[in-house]
């Protein structure tokens, strides 16, 4: 990857530096005015409080060194119901196939996805093993649809990890529907993964269900 640079190493640095600066200057000059500050919508304290409490709880459980893996799994299973809107997510990850899935298939998909997602999400959160969650702000996309921004720190994290939570609802009834870290939304990614799998199976949803069942039964996904 560094190959192109190899033939240019012993040249006159000063002149090159000047040229780079020149290029940079014109670049800066022509684009300085190009970034309009986007007006952010108001924050939602209710949604922020919800994430602070419930998401912190999940993180605390997973960071607890005194708890066995089996215990963690069980507590996580309960915590998921308080934190996340599982039926909504289950529907979302099917993408366009949410419209065509038969009741029978849905009945099979729902528990299979639940097990699969719990394994996957638990090991994802476990990878980073932070301890404290701090809400840093929120953006109301529209009433009842809020992105809550947080950072997770402590534990094994050498620097705070920004994590965003998309929560839907209002009043006392908020639920998380998606989680973003490093810019990647988990449910959106999952949806593309699943839809593509069904597409490649000629639209047969059973193929996905069977595949998830297999990876779900193979102990916990992603564990080493």
């Amino acid at each position: 990857m560094t190959l192109p640079g190899s033939h240019m190493k012993n040249t006159h640095p000063t002149r090159r530096g000047a040229n780079a600066a020149l290029l940079a200057f014109f670049g800066a000059a022509s684009f300085a005015a190009a970034s309009p500050a986007l007006a952010q919508n108001a924050r939602d304290p209710g949604a922020e409080a919800f994430v602070q409490t419930k998401a912190q709880r999940v993180i605390t459980v997973l960071a607890n060194k005194g708890m066995s893996d089996a215990q963690k799994k069980q507590v996580f299973h309960q915590a998921v119901d308080e934190l996340a809107d599982v039926p909504r997510i289950t529907n979302f990850v099917l993408g366009k196939y949410a419209r065509t899935i038969s009741p029978d298939q849905r009945a099979r998909f729902t528990p299979v996805f639940r097990t699969y997602a719990e394994n996957v999400y638990q090991s994802r959160i476990d990878d980073y093993r932070g301890e404290q969650l701090k809400v840093t702000g929120s953006v109301v996309r529209k009433p009842g649809d809020v992105i809550v921004n947080t950072t997770i720190s402590g534990g094994q994290l050498s620097s705070p990890l920004p994590v965003s939570w998309r929560v839907l609802g209002g009043g006392q009834n908020w639920k998380v529907v998606d989680v973003q870290f490093k810019g990647i939304w988990l449910a959106i990614t999952q949806q593309q993964d699943f839809v593509s799998t069904i597409d490649n199976a000629g639209g047969n949803i059973d193929v996905l269900i069977n595949q998830l069942q297999k990876s779900g039964s193979g102990s916990s996904g992603g564990k080493r």
Partner: protein, 287 residues
């Protein structure tokens, strides 16, 4: 055009930069219309013709067949070479050492980061990154310790791919290149420029020097170790190719938004896109 006025004064080395600029400009011209179209998309998800993609994650992948082949080769290479090296490295080094190595690798990229902050018209960030580079290269012992972060100068990455994004270029077609991983046209051109114009390889030593070779080797091992959780996540995916494509695309778009400050365009959570039959036939009944 302005560049041409200056050309008589420039040496051959200078022309290389102009060439680089020209490549950049050409890249932008190719990509600009796509970016423009994206800007116009309102916050409400308008189902695309293909049906299954959301506005937040629409990916243009015209050579999917080829890419899938490349992906297989890339993952094979990873299993055979890169993963064992990275896992060995992770097994024999404590976390502190790996953090130090990551810091040093990042520090060597900092001058390139400064250039891009300037190109993006962000003088404050450029100053901050410059200070980081000076402090970390000296007090931080050749970048091993991120002293600057403790002085409230946290790292703020930037590269040419991001700069093109700030200038309005869309990602263009998705590409998977074995050994380089997921890319798109914009970030591929960006990465080439990152390498060609990298001040550290120009002034300290490029790939032909021992320093350059060592740097490249360490960078690859560090990157693979840092992305190990992502590789593990792929084990759980039903379609690892699409998961990689989706995650990479979102990651890069978020990186561009980080510089533009633009709000993210997310799909409506409760309105699934039209079913395959509907999108193939007539327009969806809703609306």
């Amino acid at each position: 055009m302005r560049e041409q006025d200056q050309s008589p004064r420039l040496t051959t080395q200078g022309r290389r930069f102009i060439a680089a600029g020209a490549i950049a400009a050409a890249g932008l011209l190719v990509l600009a219309p796509a970016a423009h179209a994206q800007d116009q998309v309102p916050a409400v998800a308008a189902p695309a013709a293909s049906g299954d993609t959301t506005t937040a994650s629409a990916v243009h992948d015209p050579i999917e067949g080829f890419n899938r082949g490349s992906f297989k080769v890339g993952m094979g290479l990873d299993k055979a070479i890169f993963a064992p090296i990275a896992h060995g490295y992770m097994a024999v080094t404590p976390k502190v050492v790996r953090t130090g190595v990551s810091n040093a690798v990042y520090n060597l990229g900092e001058p390139n980061t400064v250039i891009n902050h300037v190109l993006q018209g962000k003088p404050k960030r450029a100053m901050r990154s410059t200070t980081r580079f000076i402090v970390n290269s000296t007090v931080g012992v050749l970048g091993l310790f991120d002293v600057a972060a403790k002085m409230h100068l946290p790292p703020r990455g930037a590269d040419f791919g991001q700069t093109f994004g700030v200038w309005g270029a869309g990602p263009g077609a998705y590409l998977y290149v074995p050994g380089m991983g997921p890319l798109n046209v914009r970030d591929g051109i960006g990465r080439t420029l990152d390498i060609v114009t990298d001040p550290v390889s120009l002034y300290v030593g490029g790939f032909s020097t021992d320093f350059g070779k060592a740097r490249t080797g360490v960078t690859i091992v560090d990157l693979r170790a840092a992305t190990d959780p992502a590789f593990r996540a792929l084990d759980d995916a039903a379609d690892p190719y699409v998961t990689t494509r989706s995650a990479y695309t979102q990651y890069r778009e978020a990186f561009v938004r980080e510089a533009t400050g633009q709000a993210e365009d997310l799909p409506d959570f409760d309105a699934p896109p039209p079913s395959p039959a509907q999108s193939a036939g007539s327009v969806a009944p809703k609306q």
